[in-house]
């Protein structure tokens, strides 16, 4: 197992002057962003503002042309591969839920356990008491205790999203990246998701990318607005919404 990120300098994530271009188009343009430990941060921005590219840089899927990305003070994200970054403690939930439909909720969580992943180790592996407890804990956080024996395919859209968040939690990540968690959810599911994300902040740092402004308002203390690959404004929802530049480019008035 890798060491936890060193938080001595106060932040869990440092993105500094990150630039990514695709065929001349700058998806990220000198982006600088910091995230505090235990913080719940919402990132908003129009399509093409660079939200997904930013997530890709943090998780190692895309390498920037310039700039730096550090996880805590000592872990250089640009030097690690995707699985290494996941193991270092950064979990990412993709927009489209991809749980294992044919496996039960329990089994989905089991496969997401941190630990050895080789074929023969898995062949002889049984769950320890601590691991069973962890699964139970995550089931109750994600409100899926009653569905634990059901195949994931029988879950509602919202429940699948929670299960996927639960799978991330099994790896005990320090930083969670969540891409559009409430897209396609019913109002009740949206409300439940807000509670879930709020309960995760504190123990984890959570970065949420979302379009739904009502939802962002209901959960966010700190909001970052991205525009054309860099940070346009940062602050509370009220501060951001009253910012003249934000009103012009994003809120459209």
């Amino acid at each position: 197992m890798s060491l936890p990120p060193d938080l001595a300098t106060g932040k869990i994530l440092y993105l500094e002057h990150v630039t990514v271009s695709f065929d001349g188009f700058k998806a990220l343009n000198d982006l600088t962003l910091y995230v505090d430990p235990g913080e719940l941060r919402c990132i908003i921005g129009a399509n093409g503002a660079g939200k997904t590219t930013m997530m890709d840089v943090i998780t190692g899927k895309t390498r920037p042309d310039s700039g730096s990305a550090w996880f805590g003070r000592t872990i250089d994200l640009l030097a690690l591969s995707e699985p290494e970054i996941a193991e270092a403690g950064i979990g990412r939930k993709f927009q489209k839920p991809t749980v294992f439909e044919q496996l039960t909720v329990d089994e989905n969580l089991e496969l997401a356990l941190a630990g050895k992943k080789s074929f023969w180790h898995s062949f002889s592996a049984t769950l320890s008491g601590a691991q069973l407890d962890r699964i139970g804990e995550v089931l109750s956080i994600t409100n899926l205790l009653e569905q634990r024996r059901q195949p994931a395919r029988s879950l509602s859209h919202g429940q699948k999203q929670w299960l996927e968040i639960g799978m991330l939690l099994m790896q005990s990540p320090k930083l969670l990246l969540v891409d559009e968690p409430v897209a396609g959810m019913t109002p009740q599911e949206t409300e439940r998701t807000a509670e879930l994300l709020l309960s995760l902040a504190g123990d984890h740092s959570v970065v949420v990318v979302e379009h739904d402004m009502e939802f962002v308002r209901s959960i966010a203390k700190q909001v970052t607005v991205l525009h054309e690959g860099h940070v346009l404004a940062e602050g509370t929802m009220d501060q951001v919404q009253s910012d003249q530049r934000v009103r012009e480019v994003y809120l459209g008035s």
Partner: protein, 369 residues
């Protein structure tokens, strides 16, 4: 709390506690292992309960096919690897056994050469090719019956899975592999008897292959091997490794993202499957008395997939039952109307795919629930 109780009955897949179909299957196999030799050896041929040597050989053959179906189901049913080349692993195991049996003939061959099998003498060869060394010893030959298919699967699987060849492309190259091997084995100078292959076997471990008692023991051994193969496959699919494998089938890149080395999982499963297919082939050869390159024919590998589809993929015992059912139908139909068998097989595949996506097992489960 134990793992098996924790992962109690879920409709989604195999679970460690209740495997009723598997228990029934193993009971039937045990019954065959004991009953068939007894009915053949100890019940007088005047009795209506006597089982003819022909029927016993047929049952032995079906059980080898059932083992082969287990091997195909392990990779296709649980990991989505549609191999159209398992006939090659079966044939390689069979050739391993054939080489041992050829060396056992010794001076009893037509040419009476103590070392060289007849076909080599016929080709005017003067010494044994290096790859025939050691095949006069059973333990070396037995090792090769498993290792040759496993090694081929390792090399082939490593190349294919590492390059992320999946789906229909993988099926096509497995088919090509089998076809290429067939062409190679047809050649006389390969040193495997060309298109005639190997036949006229005399004895196995000193026991006369024509003797009824030897054949009865062979049948019992085949049944035991089938039972053990089932237990091994079952242990894999009911373990966490089995759940990872099904996860790969359903969402490969997601599994990779969780930190599992998808290629390694596929490779192990493919190699284990090939080894089982090889053992099935090795047991098949002394019972049918011949092995030749037609065992590599692509159509054979396609038929195996049909057995599994008919029985119900992803159930193991269903695949084995499918192999027996389809081959029994084949025996009956090729006897009565030989010209329509291939049409019937094709129609069966189409009908099962459309109306019984979960095979006969799915049908039975629907009736009982």
């Amino acid at each position: 709390m134990s793992t098996s109780r924790f992962f109690g009955p879920g409709e989604a897949g195999p679970n460690a506690t209740t495997d009723r179909g598997g228990t029934v299957f193993l009971a039937i196999v045990a019954l065959v292992a004991v009953g068939v030799p007894v009915l053949n050896q100890f019940v007088p041929s005047s009795s209506p309960f006597h089982l003819s040597p022909y029927a016993m050989t047929l049952i032995g053959k079906y059980m080898c096919y059932a083992m082969l179906a287990l091997a195909v189901d392990l990779v296709w049913g649980f990991c989505g690897i549609l191999s159209l080349g398992h006939g090659a692993f079966f044939a390689l195991g069979g050739y391993g056994m054939g080489m041992y049996l050829m060396r056992q003939i010794g001076t009893r061959g037509v040419y009476g050469n103590p070392v060289l099998p007849d076909f080599m003498v016929f080709l005017n060869w003067t010494e044994l090719p290096w790859f025939w060394y050691g095949f006069d010893r059973f333990w070396i030959a037995a090792l090769m019956m498993v290792m040759a298919p496993a090694l081929l699967a390792t090399v082939f699987g490593w190349l294919a899975f590492r390059s992320r060849v999946t789906g229909v492309y993988l099926s096509i190259i497995t088919q090509a592999l089998s076809y290429a091997l067939m062409l190679a084995f047809f050649r006389n100078d390969m040193g495997f008897g060309g298109n005639n292959g190997f036949t006229d076997f005399k004895d196995l471990l000193g026991f006369d292959l024509q003797a009824g008692s030897t054949r009865a023991v062979l049948l019992a051994v085949t049944a035991i091997a089938l039972g053990l193969s089932y237990v091994a496959c079952r242990a894999i699919v009911a373990s966490r490794a089995g759940r990872v494998v099904r996860a790969i089938r359903d969402a490969e890149s997601r599994t990779r993202f969780l930190g599992y080395k998808v290629e390694t999982y596929k490779l192990w499963l493919f190699v284990i499957s090939a080894a089982i297919a090889g053992i099935a082939g090795a047991l098949y050869v002394p019972q049918v008395g011949i092995i030749n390159p037609s065992e590599f024919a692509p159509i054979n590998s396609i038929e195996m997939v049909i057995w599994v589809a008919v029985g119900g993929r992803g159930t193991l015992y269903g695949a084995a039952a499918g192999a027996v059912l389809v081959n029994y139908a084949k025996t009956v139909m090729t006897g009565a109307f030989p010209e329509i068998w291939l049409y019937a097989l094709g129609a069966l595949f189409v009908l099962v795919t459309i109306f019984l996506p979960r095979g006969v097992v799915g049908l039975v489960r629907r009736q009982t629930s």
